[in-house]
């Protein structure tokens, strides 16, 4: 249909364990330099982590003028707010020069975990004389000991609301919660919002931090965490024969998406065009005992069809590469199925080892990498890929970054709950 508007990427806002701003993240990716550190080095001893990607040099106050609103920001929210500020700056956008009703936001987020000390006060006051928790005592004395606005810090839609309020964005606002595919879907859905004319600009991406007691304990219980004992920066190794689970990271990635016409009129730098998006579901909810992973192939195929590309037209694929062995194998098989003869010019990379897995936020930062590959014509290597899992035989970029002609880049992200999404970025 000819009336579909073109959508381009004009700004990046990134907060990762590599630093603040997209430059430090891209540089680390290109040099396969992992920001994963030992839990002890980050004062997170006591947690069953052999490595963790932690945002260390980050001061929310640098991004928020209204100090009172900082009190209502969980770590995830402050990452998102900071990333939104960086993204708008990178796109040289000031709300004043645009119609705020034509700028929206869609973020991928999940459950925001409670600060146990903050919440614990309530439960402490709910313990009766015998040392047991009592609901009646909690109702009487516990609830009122909680910070009155405590609830607001943990509602999943709050990151998008803060971003909307702080930047005065009055267009469509949405929050997508499809597990580790959430942020990629947020970008895909934002692309659609602009394409159909409901906004000219969207801030799209996601934020997450499970680097806390509740998050780590949940992932530990589910058995998703890597148990490898290699050097911390080497632990996380998707597609390697030693892959055995995920290493968690934290942060936020937000892209400024803009209608091509609007960006041209502003005369602003264009990183890449978004030309395709597809989603699909697997019918199993744990990638480790899944025999049905057709959703991974279908999402990828849908994104390519949407971009009017054949598989052989794709130059680079940024793989989901979670490091969960079964999921890595499924991804390899899904990609394989689109290339029955050979891979041709396709190059595959994966960047999760650089920051750790940002989970609900992963698509936000990885989309930045995908767009930069299209812009810079450089493909970062897969970090920590030493000996390929024989079941994952894909044309990986290994060792060092490759310079090559890149017209189209595909980003894959898969949710733990079977929701999968793929995006296509095009060189402009």
């Amino acid at each position: 249909m000819s009336t579909r508007r073109r959508v381009v990427v004009t700004g990046f806002g990134v907060i990762t364990p590599c630093g603040n701003g997209w430059e430090s993240y891209w540089d680390a990716a290109v040099h396969a330099r992992s920001a994963v550190r030992s839990a002890e080095a980050l004062n997170l001893g006591g947690f069953p982590l052999n490595g963790v990607g932690r945002v260390t040099e980050f001061e929310p106050k640098d991004y928020v003028e209204n100090r009172k609103s900082l009190k209502l920001m969980s770590r995830e929210i402050s990452f998102a707010v900071a990333a939104s500020r960086l993204a708008l700056r990178d796109a040289k956008l000031s709300a004043a020069e645009c119609d705020p009703t034509r700028i929206g936001v869609t973020l991928g987020t999940g459950i925001i975990n409670n600060d146990l000390d903050e919440m614990g006060v309530g439960f402490q006051n709910g313990v009766d004389a015998n040392g047991h928790f009592s609901m009646t005592k909690f109702g009487q004395d516990g609830i009122r000991a909680l910070f009155p606005l405590w609830f607001l810090k943990y509602l999943p839609n709050m990151p998008a609301c803060h971003v909307s309020i702080l930047n005065q964005l009055r267009g469509p606002s949405n929050t997508i919660t499809t597990s580790t595919a959430a942020s990629t879907q947020a970008i895909g859905e934002s692309y659609r919002v602009i394409e159909r004319g409901d906004a000219d600009i969207m801030l799209a991406g996601g934020t997450d931090s499970k680097v806390n007691a509740m998050g780590i304990s949940r992932l530990h219980l589910l058995g998703f965490l890597s148990k490898r004992t290699a050097a911390p920066e080497k632990v996380y190794c998707p597609f390697d024969e030693n892959h055995d689970g995920i290493v968690i990271g934290e942060g936020a990635g937000i892209l400024v998406l803009e209608s091509y016409e609007h960006a041209k009129k502003r005369g602003v730098n264009i990183y890449a065009e978004i030309s395709g998006y597809g989603s699909a579901s697997d019918h199993n909810y744990d990638p480790r005992d899944s025999d049905d992973f057709t959703g991974k192939r279908v999402a990828l195929r849908r994104a390519l069809e949407d971009a009017a590309l054949d598989p052989e037209d794709v130059d680079v694929l940024v793989a989901n590469g979670s490091g969960i062995p079964q999921e890595d194998v499924q991804e390899a098989l899904a990609i394989h199925s689109l290339y029955p003869k050979d891979f041709g010019k396709l190059r595959v990379t994966a960047v999760k080892p650089v920051t750790g897995n940002l989970l609900y936020g992963s698509g936000g930062v990885e989309a930045v990498i995908a767009a930069l590959i299209a812009k810079q014509q450089i493909v970062p290597p897969v970090a920590n890929l030493e000996k390929q899992d024989p079941l994952c035989s894909l044309p990986f970029v290994r060792g060092k970054a490759e310079s090559c002609q890149v017209n189209s880049v595909v980003l894959n992200t898969f949710g733990f709950g079977g929701q999968n999404a793929s995006l296509v970025f095009k060189h402009v």
Binding site: G120, N174, I176
Partner: protein, 431 residues
């Protein structure tokens, strides 16, 4: 460009007034309240002790048929029940629709913390001395013994959709949004856009939620958002009435089968009506308060009308967000006036939350269903408990008893905590 038309061919609901659409609608038209004392946990010392609970739900039936649901949440069960009703109502059967053209856009809420093991873990992890209140190492240690992995997984907001795609063989596009009280309306609106674009022919849309758990009630209580009319549960939700004192938390699910018109015609499916327009804006004002200038809310209503190609003179009914909080109801009134101008006073606008309470993420799904039923039966659902007019709320709220009136175009408002405004436009389908 000729836009594809989107119609509703199936509906399912689980609400405090009934575990299907028929019972819910019957009681809504009778002006019954589904609100009562909280029974799901001991709320006897809570400031708010009332809620709109789902009653007599057949959990066992689902568990017998589907052992993998053993750790699923209330909200997921409600979604499955409502989805099964909608699927059947639409005349869908396995293989009757191309599963790759059958998508899902849901607004399933999160399910809170698995409370008892969580509290047990925290209480066992308090530090006795100075420093942090909770010892994180001990928390982890106790958590791994007290908590159940599958329950932790099921509490995540994507799991409802995971179950739905599996049980109804949904292979098309998939998403779940969670924009507080606007979520399932937004899901319906986005699903409408998906079909319009051609990404799918049939979509399961709607939402499900239950926040009637200790931390949910505590959280909203602390924000002073909940009614404390504990002695008169059925009178507690009183949108637009002068003595309203907050919303009543409720639970349930509303699911609609959205379908491209020609696809529905080919199947000879029954058509309830058309989803004709969808407006989505943000207030960008405050986290807890609506913008007093109501620019965002009014604009969402205007966009929904523009997309439908109608004006205020064409609107026959508004299902208001009408939460029964002091601020929402006054400002929603203001927003309707701003968007509708001179027509505002003439357009009946009722709040079915007066009977159902506020199902949070699930509210919009059920309210869209009620709009379509109002259209089918030419009956406007009432706003019950409307006793004393509030000068700030001076519209026609269809007070207390249902009213006969033809509905050709209806609007459904949903405003999410944090400033997301959604308005859906629904139109009668003239075969």
């Amino acid at each position: 460009m000729s836009k594809r038309k989107i119609v509703v061919t199936g509906m399912g609901a689980v609400t405090p007034l009934g575990n299907n659409v028929r019972d819910t609608w019957l009681r809504v038209t009778q002006g019954k309240s589904g609100v009562g004392p909280i029974t799901l946990f001991d709320a006897s010392t809570f400031a708010t002790r009332i809620a709109g609970e789902v009653k007599g739900f057949p959990f066992e039936k689902w568990l017998e048929r589907n052992p993998p649901l053993a750790c699923a949440t209330r909200s997921t069960f409600f979604a499955l029940q409502a989805a099964a009703e909608a699927y059947k109502d639409a005349g869908l059967r396995p293989f009757s629709v191309d599963s790759r053209r059958f998508g899902i856009y849901f607004g399933a809420g999160d399910s809170g913390i698995d409370f008892d093991p969580f509290v047990k873990t925290i209480v066992a992890s308090f530090n006795s001395g100075a420093g942090e209140l909770v010892d994180k190492g001990r928390y982890l240690d106790h958590a791994s013994r007290n908590m159940t992995a599958l329950k932790e997984l099921e509490s995540q907001p994507f799991m409802t959709v995971t179950h739905l795609t599996r049980l109804f063989d949904i292979r098309g596009p998939v998403s779940n949004c969670l924009t507080a009280c606007a979520a399932s309306s937004q899901a319906i609106g986005e699903a409408f856009e998906w079909i319009r674009r051609g990404d799918a022919d049939v979509i399961m849309a709607g939402g499900s939620h239950s926040m009637i758990y200790p931390m949910g009630v505590a959280g909203f209580s602390l924000l002073t958002a909940l009614s404390r009319r504990n002695d008169e549960p059925e009178k507690a939700s009183r949108p637009f009435d002068k003595k309203r004192d907050g919303f009543v938390i409720a639970e349930g699910s509303g699911v609609l089968i959205l379908e491209e018109l020609e696809h529905a015609r080919r199947r000879k499916a029954h058509i309830y009506g058309e989803i004709a327009g969808y407006g989505s804006t943000a207030d960008a004002y405050r986290l807890t308060d609506m913008d007093p200038e109501v620019r965002g809310a009014a604009r969402a209503i205007e966009i929904a009308m523009e997309k439908t190609g109608v004006g205020p003179e064409n609107i026959d009914y508004i299902n208001a967000h009408g939460t029964s909080t002091a601020v929402n109801d006054a400002l929603e009134t203001r927003a309707i006036k701003k968007a509708m101008g001179e027509y505002a006073a003439k357009i009946p606008a009722s709040s079915t939350k007066s009977m159902l309470g506020h199902m949070i993420a699930a509210a919009g799904g059920v309210e869209a269903i009620l709009c379509l039923l109002a259209m089918r039966d030419s009956v406007l659902p009432p706003t019950i408990n409307y006793e004393e007019p509030d000068p700030e709320c001076d519209l026609d709220y269809v007070p207390n008893t249902a009213r006969r009136s033809d509905v050709n175009v209806a609007l459904s408002n949903s405003f999410g905590f944090g400033g997301q405004n959604i308005c859906l436009a629904l139109r009668k389908h003239h075969g």
